[in-house]
Symmetry: C2
Subunit: 251 residues, 2 copies
Amino acid sequence: MVKKVKAALIVIGDEILSGRTQDANINYIAKWLGNLGIILDEVRVIPDDATRIQKTVNECRNAFDYVFTTGGIGPTHDDITAANVAAAFGFKFSLNAEARKLLEDNIGKDNMTEARLRMAMIPEGASLIKNPVSAAPGFQLENVFVLAGIPVVMQSMLLDVEDRISGGAKISSKAIHVFAGESQFADILSEIEDQFENLSIGSYPFYKGGTYGATFVLRSAVSSEVDEALEQLKKKISESGKEFFMGEAPD
Amino acid sequence: MVKKVKAALIVIGDEILSGRTQDANINYIAKWLGNLGIILDEVRVIPDDATRIQKTVNECRNAFDYVFTTGGIGPTHDDITAANVAAAFGFKFSLNAEARKLLEDNIGKDNMTEARLRMAMIPEGASLIKNPVSAAPGFQLENVFVLAGIPVVMQSMLLDVEDRISGGAKISSKAIHVFAGESQFADILSEIEDQFENLSIGSYPFYKGGTYGATFVLRSAVSSEVDEALEQLKKKISESGKEFFMGEAPD
C-alpha cells in the first residue's frame, strides 16, 4: 500500500451545533488537504467546553498525523480554545510578546484593551501562524494547528501552514455518472474495486427532477489504477445499455 | 439547571471527508433537534470503514441520549452502515420481511435484484423508519437512528422519528448585532452570562465589506433569562455609543 498521511479536523463552536451557522470550513479544509496528499480522516464538531476541547484534542493528536482546530480564538469569554489546547498538552499559557506586537502593529498600541490582549495569549512553546486578514495569530503546537473560525481568516492562515506539513502520495480521483439506479452496478463496482490494491470506489445516488442517477467516484494514490478501473467501468456500463457521462455531476 | 437532552450525529461518508460533497445534513438536523428541545452536542464525520463505524456508534450511544447516523444504507458495496450498526450492538443482521415488502411495493416484485435486496437487510430487533421518497427504510435500534445520506430522503425519514424522541425544555434564542469589534463587549458579555443559571452567550464576529461587526446570541432553556439578559445588553451597547440591530445577521 502507498503511504497514507491522515488528518483530523476539530470544529469548535456552539453556533455550528445549534444550527445557527452553516459550517464552511470542513469542505474547504477537506479539499485543501486533498491537494497536499493528506487524507481528512475524521471531523468532530464539539461545543465551546473546556473538558470536551481537551479530551478531543488529546484523542485526535494521538490518533492522527495532523490535527486542525477551527474556532474559539477571538477576544470574548466564549473563546476558550487556546487555553484548553495548552491544557491538553500540559503546557503553560501566557502572554506572547510576538503575538502582542502583531496585534499592536495592526490596531495601534493605544487601542489595545484587556479583551484584545486575550488574543495574544498563546501556549508556551507554540509557533505562531500568520493571520494576514486581521492580525490575531493562530498557532502550531507539535502536530496540532489552531486556526480561526471565520472562513476568510481561517483560509488566510492556511497559507502559513502549507510549508509545515507534508502529504503522502496525492490522491487521483475521477467521477463518472449514470442516469440509472446505483443498485444495478453494485456487483460490478465491487468486482472492479477488488482488483486494485489502493483503489476505492464510492457510489453516490442522486435524485434530480424525479429521476434517480448515480455518481461513481474512483480514487487511488496510484493514478494508473484510476484510469484502468475507469476503462473497465465504462465498458460495463456500455454493455448494460446505459449511457454515462463524465465531468461535473448534474445539479 | 433545566434538564438537558443531548444527541450526537455521525455522518458516515468518504465523499464528505474528501471534499467532493458539501454536507447539508448537519445543519438541518441541528435545527430540527433544536426545535424539539434536544441539544446537538457532537458531530463526527467518519469514513465508510467497518471498524470506525462500530467504534463510533458504540462510543456515542453510551455517551448521548440519542444518536443519529446519516449515509451508507444504499445498495452498493460501500454501503456498510447497517451491517456495522448491527455489529456494534452484537445483533444479528438479516433480511427483514417488512423492509423487503416496502421495496417490492415500490419498484415491483419483478424488478427486485440481489443488490436492491441489500437495502432490506436490517439488524434483528430494529424497528423500521419510513422513507416516503424512495421506500428503502432506515431503522431504529434502541437510541440509535440510522438514516439515509441524501438530504431529501434523510429529511423525509425524520417525519417518522419525531414521535419517537422527546426533548428537554425548548431552547429560546435571540440574536443582536453591532457594527463594532466583539472585543469591546467581552467583559460585558461575561458579566451578563454569569447572572443567569441557564444562559449562554455566544459571540460571533463577522467581516463585511471591510468592516468588522459581531453577533451576540443569547440562548437559554428559560426564555425569561434571554429577555432579561437582552435588555441588559441593549442598555450596555447604547451606553457605549454603538448602534445595535436585531433580526437576521447581515450577509
